[in-house]
């Protein structure tokens, strides 16, 4: 069958063909250099600062770390942060679920605008987020003055303000994890449940919620991390009254500015630990339940 028998050419290259680089990747050396750049860059810029937090926290040993946390002001900051998160996160869960239900399960005009507005707090500077409440609810404003006189409720420079600011900055987290997933899942399951005689509420609890539970957990996780760590918005309207309106991030600032480095870094280490746990759980969820989380990697 071979009519023009080609002479067997001598091997042209020393490299056996199977070891040649595939045409859609780069030579080994280039890959090595790029990996080295990435590893160095990420280590210096991201991992190193994280490590420093723990090093500084344990500068005086475990005892120093523990005594810094046992300090009454640190204790009060931890309690306040937990309280604020315990209010803000559930509020945003309820909102997130309601918003996702409205946006993903129905077609209506102005939907794109609504979704953009839900995302708005992400692009607002935390300082501005705090400021808008000061301007709206400060004791010298119309609403703020009325609240204080009628109910004796102080919002700004008090815990309610901190809660409000925290809700603002963590506002989109749950909603934006749920919306894309629920849109992608469509209405089929709900329509099936309804046609089988389930009530609206039963449909929600038994079909919708189980379908989105991992995305919900994912959103709650990110929401909580931000709620506990928020600094700028809270700094503007807390008034920083020790033992009363100082959250963990604010405690870090106060201690750091007073050169109580170990105290600052001990509380910082606690928050960094929370961040690490968040990242680990997040990575785990992304790995294990990738199909059940639509908005992976977008914040």
């Amino acid at each position: 069958m071979v009519d023009t028998a080609p002479a067997v050419a001598p091997s042209l290259a020393a490299v056996p063909p199977s070891r040649r680089v595939a045409p859609t990747t780069e030579p080994r050396l280039v890959r090595g250099v790029l990996i080295a750049i990435t590893a160095t860059f990420l280590s210096v810029f991201l991992l190193f600062p994280l490590g420093v937090v723990f090093v500084e926290a344990f500068r005086n040993g475990t005892a120093g770390f523990l005594s810094a946390l046992a300090d009454p002001q640190a204790q009060s900051a931890i309690r306040l942060t937990l309280l604020v998160a315990a209010i803000a996160v559930p509020c945003n869960i309820v909102f997130g679920v309601a918003a996702a239900w409205a946006v993903a399960k129905f077609e209506f005009r102005g939907k794109t605008l609504l979704v953009s507005l839900i995302d708005l707090p992400f692009s607002v500077s935390p300082v501005v987020a705090g400021l808008v409440y000061v301007l709206l609810l400060g004791s010298n404003t119309l609403i703020g003055g009325w609240l204080q006189e009628s109910f004796g409720l102080r919002v700004i420079f008090a815990v309610p303000g901190i809660v409000l600011a925290t809700i603002f900055v963590t506002f989109p987290f749950v909603a934006r994890e749920l919306i894309p997933l629920m849109e992608q899942q469509g209405n089929g399951d709900e329509e099936a449940a309804l046609s089988l005689g389930a009530s609206g509420l039963q449909t929600f609890w038994r079909t919708t919620l189980p379908n989105v539970k991992w995305a919900l957990l994912y959103g709650v996780l990110l929401c909580n991390a931000r709620a506990m760590g928020e600094f700028g918005a809270v700094a503007v309207l807390s008034g920083k009254l020790r033992g009363q309106t100082v959250t963990m991030p604010l405690h870090i600032e106060l201690a750091y500015n007073e050169y109580a480095s170990v105290s600052a870094f001990s509380v910082a280490a606690l928050l960094a630990g929370l961040a690490l746990v968040t990242l680990v759980v997040k990575t785990f969820l992304e790995w294990k339940y990738a199909d059940h989380i639509a908005g992976t990697g977008r914040h």
Binding site: V2, T4, A9, A13, P17, S18, R19, R20
Partner: protein
């Protein structure tokens, strides 16, 4: 450009995708690599293109060993299954890309490129589409632009990976005919991969049937259909039903009945007959015919089809029969096998 593939083997880790394939593709020929998924047909095509490197073996482009040439140096036109058009470039820029990336010594001027692109757009019958983006084209149009882009570099060979796989049935048929005409006009040596036997049979000068990294048969569509070389080809191409038989002294026996078929050099012992429905005749029971019973009757397009249980009833085959033949459900019938493949039992 003649292509010679010499003892090409490819391992992906521990699994072998190709075990020493030899194949010669004549200049100007249109060849189909046909096989189920995992048969190694796409791997072979990619090795010819230089997108994959073989573990062993050589590829000759004419008299030159191309084994050590990179894909860029091989100058092959490759059309991808999903077209792989550059989405951020217009149709015009897509087609011109291969000319513009040439080293300056061989790069044509923009005027020449323009002429060439326009000629190609005419050739693929999309003359007005130069300014569009791929996202604005239908699947069939994208396929034709992908082909024009591949032809722009004046390739030595044209390689197409499942060229019609992503298109709907009607577009596929039109495009098939169009590709055949185009090939006859341009005369490129062309290899295309497909898992669709109709496509391979209709389009190709010769068909390479592959299975599990080996070539099962190489031949014209008629060879492949009428004279399958292996049990695999019998099963894969067209319809065939297996009948276990005994070969004894050159005679073929089914449950003791002698069939009027040659043993085709199969040694004495158990063997398997591969019977196509169109090679079976039905008649009223008579001597010299296999006794059988009609089990199911159905109409398949222009054909009438009967499913009959042979002899004792454990073996069923299907038969096409004409209007003059009287058959009735659950009634005995005589079966004559006019032609069949015979292979030693595995």
């Amino acid at each position: 450009m003649q292509l010679d593939i010499r003892d090409i083997a490819k391992d992906f880790g521990a699994t072998a995708a190709l075990h020493g394939v030899d194949l010669t593709i004549r200049s100007g020929e249109l060849i189909a690599l046909l096989g189920p998924s995992g048969s190694g047909k796409t791997t072979l095509l990619r090795i010819i293109a230089g997108l994959e490197f073989p573990t062993r073996g050589q590829v000759f482009f004419g008299p030159d060993d191309a084994s050590h040439r990179s894909v860029q140096e091989r100058n092959v036109g490759f059309v991808f299954q999903h077209y792989a058009l550059f989405r951020h470039m217009t149709v015009y820029d897509n087609i011109a890309f291969g000319l513009r990336v040439r080293p300056s010594a061989t790069r044509p001027g923009e005027a020449e490129i323009r002429k060439k692109v326009e000629t190609l757009l005419d050739l693929v019958q999309l003359p007005e589409y130069g300014k569009r983006f791929p996202a604005q084209l239908s699947g069939g149009q994208r396929q034709r632009i992908a082909l024009a882009r591949a032809l722009a570099i004046e390739p030595k060979v044209l390689l197409l990976d499942e060229p019609f796989g992503a298109l709907d049935a009607r577009v596929r048929k039109d495009l098939r005919r169009w590709l055949r005409e185009l090939h006859d006009r341009t005369g490129h040596t062309t290899v295309f991969v497909t898992h669709d036997q109709d496509e391979a049979m209709e389009l190709a000068d010769r068909v390479v049937v592959m299975s599990q990294g080996r070539i099962e048969q190489l031949g014209t569509p008629d060879d492949i259909y009428d004279r399958p070389a292996t049990p695999f080809v019998y099963d894969f191409i067209g319809e065939a039903f297996r009948v276990p038989v005994e070969v004894s002294g050159g005679a073929v026996l089914f449950e003791g009945n002698r069939l009027d078929l040659p043993a085709q050099g199969v040694r004495d012992g158990r063997a398997t007959l591969f019977v196509r429905p169109e090679n079976v005749s039905l008649a009223p029971p008579a001597d010299g015919l296999l006794p059988a019973q009609v089990e199911i009757l159905r109409r398949a397009g222009a054909r009438r089809r009967a499913e009959v249980a042979l002899g004792a009833g454990a073996i069923r085959i299907e038969a096409d029969y004409g209007a003059g033949v009287e058959v009735a459900l659950k009634q005995p019938v005589g079966v004559a096998i006019r032609e069949a493949g015979i292979f030693p039992a595995a």
